[in-house]
Amino acid sequence: MQTTSPVLEAINLTKTYDYHVTALDNLNLSVGRGEIYSLLGGNGAGKTTTMNLFLNFIEPSSGKAIVNGVVTHEEPIKAKQYVAFVSENVQLYGQFTAVQNLDFFTRIGGNTHYTQRDYEQVLLRVGLQKEAHHRKLSGFSKGMRQKCGIAIAILKNTPAILLDEPTSGLDPKAGNEFSRLLAELRDEGKAILMSTHDIFRAKEISDTVGIMNQGKLVMQKSAEELKGENLESLYLHFMAGYMEETA
């Protein structure tokens, strides 16, 4: 539930590529402190475009993406100070150990005060076993790399966290651990925007759920509003309904 002014905010955010392909159409959403916002949608719905706009990897055609009050395409370097990102498939330096990767990415994230002990503690917190801390990443599974990615996001200690399909490809146990971590981060006051295909997990941990289709936010409901509703049916309904409407 949004309790304070939004940390992440999209205002009429639109991205149109050449040949008038609209990847994102007039998106409006906000995520406040201590809130998890899940974006559901099929492939090409505009979820990743939204993430890329918040990270200023692409510039909006119109509208704004705001992180902690900073418009990302106006002050991208400043905006990135307030946001951490975990991708669907976390890729780190394979020739470095988990701790070395954490050290590099937290340093370039502006945090130079951490010690090796801090890194090890965070890695334990995200569920990476101790014996893996000083092993090279090249031998890590996808789940282990995801844990390192989340550790980096935690250590960056930003008010906002963006997660792009973070549970994709994780086994149920790892998925549950991930949900637990997200809940902890919310409790710490982080504003979390997560894109996902996982309807079950979205309903379980989200404060707000949005459904996107063909670049538009076609539904947005709070956890309160979703109580007693079947999110899967809603998802199918909105996807199908929108498709009928556009057909």
Partner: protein
């Protein structure tokens, strides 16, 4: 931030197989090239010293003008250990004689053609071919490789500016490649000292400048690699483009420049030149012979009606006067031939210079050619090496023939072979005087070019290397500003 990025680059390189491969390959190649260079230099020095000693002994043993033969031996330069240039192509020695222009013959390659087959492995070659290739291998995936592995995106979710990232890539890669070079180079320099090769302060400065220009060349290729990597999204594409650039700049452009210049400026070949010279000389000699025959006939006119003894006494009385007359005429003829040859050679030299300038200008499109020209200038094994020695040898010829003439006057020795024919047969007289001391003969002055005179000649090529580096760094910056990080 910058230091963190640089540290990461260095650490990543240190842990990569590229670094180990480079360290091993560079150590072996650099040490081998310096060791070969030292041996070659020492062999050249031994040859030079032995030849000089033999010449000195010959002069000590010479007792008449006929046996006084001067030779000029080219002195090796210790910097050729690093850059042999055309040292092995140019002749080692030239005979100094009144009758013909000095010409340096007996080059190492002409005497041992097997060396010419694969050329010498000097440090200059390693910089041009091997290290430029390593520079490309170090940087071809600097940006595109990080994009492919996904680390670029994660890096740029942080407050990292593209300029910082690019500079860190450049500095990190440079340190990663240059550090493995320093160790074998330092060992090589120590080897030079241990092998007892004397280096002057100028030599040391030349070596430093040579190494500096080599490092600049590597940096230029690293920047080119970085630039192409910043314009491509796949490292395989980047590698192919860079391979094409490397082949063009290292293999094709320098040679194409020379070939193009050769077809643009027409210069008679050495045999055509020799033919022109000998035709002119033959004409002059023929005219001279006819003149002499007429003179001899005229000189013999008074002896008509004399007895053999009277005629001989008459000729003996006139001999010196006639010899001086003959000598004067011969000198006039030789001077004409020499003047013609000088004029011809001057024209050819101008054309050669024009061709060389054109070839260098075209070849300098490639930074490798600029480096090669710098290296050759510093080691004084550049194209002017032969010209410098020829000019010095020509000056020496004038000095030495002047000296012989002086000796001739002092001793009254005609300096030629006297052949006398009478009823008793032929009588050969090599010389009339013996015991001439040649210790006061003029000595050949080796053409030495001071570093002070060389440095201004290097500025153009250093500037070209710098401009190429800056140009590609600018391109890499433009490419990276537009780079899609996703």
């Amino acid at each position: 931030m910058l230091s963190t990025l640089i540290q990461k680059e260095i650490r990543a390189l240190l842990l990569s197989p590229k670094f180990s491969l480079t360290l091993v390959a560079c150590s072996v190649l650099i040490l081998l090239s310096i060791y070969t260079g030292i041996n070659e230099y020492k062999a050249s020095m031994r040859l030079y010293e032995t030849a000089s000693q033999i010449e000195s002994t010959n002069f000590q043993e010479a007792r008449n003008l006929m046996s006084a033969q001067a030779m000029v031996h080219r002195q090796p330069n210790p910097i050729q250990i690093f850059s042999t240039g055309i040292h092995f192509d140019v002749g080692r020695l030239a005979n100094i004689a009144r009758w013909y222009d000095p010409n340096f013959t007996r080059s190492i390659y002409s005497e041992t053609p097997v060396f010419a087959l694969f050329r010498m492995l000097d440090l200059s070659f390693i910089f041009q071919v091997i290290l430029t290739l390593f520079a490309v291998l170090f940087t071809y995936d600097a940006i595109s490789g990080e994009k492919e592995s996904g680390t670029l995106k994660l890096t740029f979710t942080n407050s990292v500016s593209r300029a910082q990232y690019l500079i860190a890539k450049m500095i990190g890669s440079s340190i990663g490649l240059l550090a493995p070079l320093l160790i074998p180079i330092l060992i090589g320099l120590i080897m030079i000292q241990l092998f007892g090769i004397h280096l002057t302060t100028e030599d040391w400065l030349s070596i430093l400048l040579f190494l500096g220009s080599g490092f600049v060349l590597i940096l230029v290729f690293m920047i080119i690699g970085l630039s192409i990597s910043a314009w491509t999204s796949k490292s395989s594409t980047s590698f192919l483009v860079l391979l094409a650039i490397w082949i063009s700049t290292v293999m094709i452009i320098p040679r194409a420049g020379v070939i193009a210049a050769d077809s643009m400026v027409n210069i008679p070949s050495d045999s055509e030149l020799a033919s022109q010279k000998s035709t002119f000389a033959a004409e002059k000699n023929s005219t001279f012979s006819k003149e002499l025959s007429a003179i001899y006939a005229k000189r013999n006119e008074p002896t008509q009606g004399m007895s053999r003894e009277e005629a001989r006494a008459y000729r003996d009385e006139k001999e010196w006067e006639w010899m001086e007359e003959d000598d004067k005429l011969r000198k006039e003829k030789d001077a004409e031939i020499s003047e013609y040859n000088t004029k011809l050679m001057s024209e050819i030299s101008n054309k050669r210079n024009e061709k060389a300038r054109l070839a260098f200008t075209l070849a300098r499109i490639s930074p490798v050619a600029s480096f090669q020209l710098i290296a050759m200038k510093l080691s004084q094994t550049d194209l002017d090496l032969k010209t410098r020695y020829l000019e010095s040898a020509t000056r020496y010829k004038t000095e030495f023939t002047g000296y012989l003439e002086q000796k001739q006057k002092e001793t009254g020795d005609p300096g030629g072979i006297r052949i006398e024919m009478n009823a008793d047969g032929f009588k050969f007289d090599m010389s009339r005087s013996t015991g001439i001391d040649f210790s006061d003969r003029p000595r050949f002055q080796h053409p030495e070019v001071s570093l002070k005179a060389i440095i201004p000649q290097l500025l153009g090529d250093f500037s070209l290397l710098g401009i190429t580096g800056l140009l590609f760094f600018g391109l890499s910056f433009i490419g990276f500003l537009r780079y899609d990080m996703r």
